[in-house]
Symmetry: C2
Subunit: 205 residues, 2 copies
DNA sequence: ATTTACATACATTCATGTTTGTATATAAAA
DNA sequence: TTTTATATACAAACATGAATGTATGTAAAT
């Protein structure tokens, strides 16, 4: 059996992405060979080179599958004006993202790969820039939300929304990194929600 | 000229470490070959294999050169009881570390390599565990300092030293990461001291 | 009949570790 | 103090094993 139907081909493409994620996670992106990925997906390198021009393109495809959904979720939680106060919205955004990471294996693994199983040089340097841009977006949205909180008088005095947003962003960046690195004993994973709660309540009047 | 004096040999060893740092930074650890490093140091692979058993050992040597001094600095700033209040000590510890990173090229480059130019798999997984342990130590020392601040009545009410320490640690982890990743336009580098100041003043009564 | 979706075979490059060679520094012996 | 032996600090050559990309083959879908 050689030639598959269109749907079957699309399926092996997806299987290749899944296989790549597994192998990347175990061996790191650099040490992973196209052969490894093909074997893990139960095909030969021919299949890989048919669907993707090279390993880098496979990495890109894997990455794009998880990044877009997460951004959508952020927009939902943060910007949509709801019944809860802005500070609670930020808290729920942070907690929700962590919760999502706990539940969604694919996203979690992809993040782990991007954070500690990938070297950001050459082709991957561009990815770094994308990440930085993404951060700028998050910071701006969080800042806006803190701004609203200030107007509503929810913040401590002399608190600058821009600085608060930065502080929150750095806190969350750190949390994500430690959360991912600490996969073995999971101290950060247990504490995550409490830490987020404490972080926000520091800002409350 | 083949056989060098003992001091000359030690010098080429150091040159190899320096060369490795440069090449790791440019090409990432995985894509760096022993040949690259040798060429950058102006020797042949023979010299590398004489001083180090392989690339991993070279990486380890490079890493150890910068990590130990930083830990010493932490102990000095944080634990030694001084004239300033505990919160200021934490602030100065954070600012001092960032300052040190700005000034010391070697340390900065090594951190950049460890954070975004290295894949933590196999032999390097052990390094991850070391980093985690290091973090635990920092958190504990910061917690103790917050504890003293609380006793002296410097903290906001209902502030838990343990949670504050975690929050500070995550903030600082995030700052380090963004600081390193943002090497191009340096938004974080300019703001670093202000951000640290704001972070600490959130805790003040 | 012609693509498609792969498998298989091929050619080439590259990196590694080891081995061998060698000039010299250094220490011991005379 | 000079001579001699040995270990040192590499360079150069060798052997081997990947890994990559491409080219070709092929059976089934369209």
């Amino acid at each position: 059996m050689v030639r598959k139907t269109k749907e079957a081909a699309e399926l092996t493409r997806q299987q290749l992405i899944d296989a790549a994620r597994q192998v990347f996670l175990q061996r790191g992106v650099s040490r992973t060979t196209v052969e490894h990925i093909a074997a893990a997906a139960g095909v030969t390198r021919g299949a890989v080179y048919w669907h993707f021009s090279n390993k880098t393109e496979l990495f890109r495809a894997m990455r794009e599958q998880v990044l877009l959904p997460l951004i959508d979720h952020m927009d939902d939680t943060l910007l949509v004006e709801g019944p809860e106060d802005p500070l609670t919205r930020i808290e729920r955004f942070l907690s929700g993202t962590m919760q999502f990471l706990s539940e969604d294996l694919t996203t979690r693994q992809t993040y782990e790969i991007m954070m500690i199983k990938c070297e950001y040089v050459d082709e991957f340097a561009e990815v770094l820039r994308q990440i930085l841009q993404n951060c700028t977006g998050i910071i701006e949205k969080v800042r806006l939300t803190y701004e609203r909180a200030k107007i509503k008088g929810l913040l401590r005095d002399h608190a600058d929304p821009a600085q608060l947003a930065m502080d929150t962003h750095l806190f969350f960046t750190g949390l994500l990194h430690m959360w991912v690195k600490d996969s073995e004993n999971g101290i950060y994973r247990q504490q995550a929600h409490e830490l987020i709660k404490a972080h926000i309540s520091l800002r409350r009047r």
